[in-house]
């Protein structure tokens, strides 16, 4: 049937003479089941399959547990609460030993974790979020916005991190860990933004993005439906790297005494070990240096391993293979069998 009016699709839309008319309605629990399967069950399956993610996830969950439940139950560290200068694993009440001021080392480690975790999440979310916004906008829009945003991130990128943070912290004197996290990654988003921009530049000209544009799909919807999902592996890896950067900088700032030593932090423990307790000059004070080091190492290691494993989550091939969905036999038959190939 020929469409009468010009172009616009009014009542006379097409209907199929042929084709089965099975009516299909989508119930509410279908939607829920889809959501569960899509975002929790399958990614979990993929994550667990790779040994790196398994270790990474266990370590990170351990710290999460320590930061929440542990901090809630275990006693606050305070001076002279226990016997002084006891080595680790000698007494079950204070398993990790005590400081020369009589503080329980395990308490200090545990109670530093909540702040560190908040700082990491705040800093990483701020850096990745801003980088995603600027990178995608500059990459997709192009032209003047691209030039402006790129030169802005050029400047931010070339300002060395630590000195800038120091200047800001000295003037702002923040105490809330979330703000500290944000300030620490004040210019970290620049490098990430540039990486995202170049990825978006390639994605923007992909046929499926052009097809969406041709269908008249809005720019925002294209960004969130077509471009960002394909960036997620890159974004996630850098989200965790931002976390690693925050840990390193935060501990350094506490160690240097720039951040107030009122709150507890592994950096402060290190600072006290080195400057006050003179741990560096005799072997028996070694545990005061090694314990915070191991804490930092473990948390960072957990994050890095988690990142390396998770980019497979966003790869649809891996997700379907693991979830047991059948791989269609390729119609032309691919030249190389699953095993080898060239």
């Amino acid at each position: 049937m020929k469409r009468t009016d010009s172009g616009s699709v009014s009542g006379t839309d097409f209907s199929f003479e042929k084709g089965s008319q099975s009516n299909v309605e989508v119930t509410w629990n279908d939607r829920l089941r889809d959501f569960w399967e899509e975002f929790i069950y399958k990614p979990g399956l993929v994550a667990w399959d790779d040994w790196r993610t398994r270790i990474g996830a266990t370590i990170t969950l351990f710290f999460l547990f320590m930061g929440t439940v542990g901090a809630y139950f275990y006693r606050q560290p305070s001076t002279n609460q226990v016997e002084r200068s006891v080595g680790p694993f000698q007494n079950p009440d204070y398993i990790l030993g005590t400081t020369p001021l009589g503080e329980d080392v395990l308490a200090k480690i545990i109670h530093a974790t909540p702040d560190i975790l908040i700082m990491i999440t705040a800093g990483a979310v701020w850096a990745t979020g801003l980088a995603l916004l600027i990178g995608v906008l500059a990459g997709y829009k192009g032209g003047l916005t691209d030039r402006a945003l790129t030169s802005m991130s050029d400047v931010a990128m070339s300002i060395p991190g630590l000195p800038l943070i120091m200047v800001l912290l000295v003037t702002v004197q923040p105490t809330n860990p979330a703000i500290i996290g944000g300030i620490i990654t004040i210019n970290y988003w620049a490098g990430l933004g540039r990486g995202l921009r170049s990825q978006v530049l390639t994605l923007r000209d992909e046929p499926y993005v052009e097809a969406s544009r041709t269908m008249g799909v809005g720019t925002l919807r294209i960004m969130f439906k077509d471009i960002i999902p394909n960036l997620m592996p890159f974004v996630l890896v850098n989200f965790v790297n931002a976390g690693r950067y925050v840990i390193f900088q935060a501990v350094a700032l506490y160690y240097l005494g720039i951040l107030p030593s009122t709150t507890s932090n592994w950096g402060i423990l290190l600072n006290q070990a080195v400057n006050q307790y003179g741990a560096l000059f005799s072997l028996d004070g070694a545990y005061l240096v090694f314990i915070p080091t191991i804490a930092i190492l473990l948390l960072t290691l957990g994050l890095i391993l988690l990142a390396q494993g998770t980019d497979r989550i966003f790869n649809p091939r891996v997700r379907t293979r693991l979830a047991g969905e059948s791989e269609s036999t390729d119609e032309e038959g691919n030249e190389q069998p699953a095993a080898g190939g060239f």
């Binding site: 790129t150 030169s151 050029d154 400047v155 990128m157 070339s158 300002i159 060395p160 991190g161 630590l162 000195p163 800038l164 120091m166 200047v167 000295v170 003037t171 490098g191 540039r194 921009r197 170049s198 530049l201 690693r244 840990i247 390193f248 501990v251 350094a252 160690y255 240097l256 720039i258 290190l270 080195v274 741990a279 560096l280 000059f281 072997l283 070694a286 240096v289 080091t293 930092i296 190492l297 960072t300 290691l301 890095i304 391993l305 390396q308």
Partner: protein
């Protein structure tokens, strides 16, 4: 001048100018920022009229405090061009001289460390790529992951602790042994300086090489899978030639841009390293300036460090055009 280099030069100059403006902003406009706090300190000392305070502040920062902003800004930039960054409060010396003394030490440690990280990362990364799938490969990768999970300053502390204080094999402090030599181009000074630099450089390299190694390994494995490597083997080229001219050469390209951003953050990181080794670098000066509120020195160092970063990134940027022919013909945005 090829358009690519022209664009890069323009971008470097623009960046330096914008950084200078931001530093000016940080000093002058930040509420509770350095200038206000300097005025408060001077008033607290007491016994000075407002005019005297202004004169003293002008002496330190070579800026007349109550002039309209744009004139101050103009003087600031003009002063900057002639290298006048004001005067340090604590050391009563022009900021520029202090920086001139200390910046070489920082650049020496940090740039050597970066170059070593880059070289080791490439060589070991390519080596592991060739050994992909073997036990050595998995062990090597695991070690690099663990090594990159420790902050360099923690390794520095451990180095001072175990290798210097307890072990005694290396000097734990200072840039050179003043008893043995005096600064100058004489051999004892150079050997002593090198001897003192081993621990700082070592701790940065050990923790930095891990990520670069893994990145290089990933790139090399990807290049090894490319057709032109297979065709090269069919053409009978020697393995050595393929490993260097084909695999390493193409695997370095993406690494180079990562290396650029590393320069920026490493110079910033010198502050804590020099505090641990009390190394006479610009980082330690910055820390002391921060601790005793010596704003002119603090902001001067901040500006110089940033410009040093911009220049080193600019140099690396120009050389990038040499190793990737595709760039110098057209301006490819990923270069930076």
């Amino acid at each position: 001048m090829n358009s690519y280099y022209l664009k890069r030069t323009a971008r470097a100059v623009l960046t330096v100018w914008m950084v200078a403006t931001i530093t000016f902003g940080l000093i002058r406009l930040l509420p509770g920022g350095p200038m206000q706090q300097l005025r408060a300190d001077l008033l607290r000392q007491g016994g000075m009229t407002a005019a005297e305070v202004n004169a003293r502040m002008e002496q330190y920062t070579s800026l007349v405090p109550d002039q309209p902003i744009h004139i101050q800004y103009f003087n600031y930039v003009a002063g900057l061009a002639q290298g006048d960054l004001g005067q340090s409060i604590t050391e009563q010396e022009p900021v520029v001289d202090i920086i001139a003394e200390t910046l070489p030490w920082t650049l020496f440690v940090m740039e050597t460390a970066q170059v070593m990280i880059f070289v080791f990362g490439i060589v070991l990364g390519a080596f592991l790529a060739y050994k992909e799938g073997t036990k050595l490969d998995s062990v090597g990768s695991a070690i690099s992951i663990v090594l990159s999970s420790i902050p360099y300053y923690v390794v520095a502390i451990l180095a001072v602790y175990l290798l210097a204080n307890i072990g005694g094999w290396f000097p734990a402090r200072y840039g050179y042994d003043s008893t043995v030599a005096s600064p100058g181009l004489n051999l004892p000074f150079i050997t002593s300086a090198l001897y003192h630099a081993i621990l700082p450089i070592g701790s940065v390299v050990i923790t930095g090489v891990g990520l670069q190694l893994l990145a290089m390994r990933g790139n090399s494995i990807q290049v090894l899978g490319e057709d032109f490597v297979r065709v090269a083997r069919l053409r009978g080229l020697s393995d050595r030639r393929i490993a260097t001219r084909y695999v390493a050469r193409n695997a370095i390209l993406p690494m180079y841009t990562g290396f650029l951003t590393l320069i920026a953050f490493s110079i910033g990181g010198s502050i804590i390293l020099e505090q641990i080794f009390s190394y006479p670098g610009v980082g330690q000066e910055m820390l002391q300036a921060l601790e005793n509120r010596d704003y002119p020195l603090m902001m001067g160092i901040f500006l110089v460090i940033t410009i040093a970063v911009v220049i080193s990134v600019y140099i690396a940027d120009l050389t990038y055009g040499l190793i990737d022919p595709r760039v110098s013909s057209g301006d490819s945005s990923e270069a930076y």
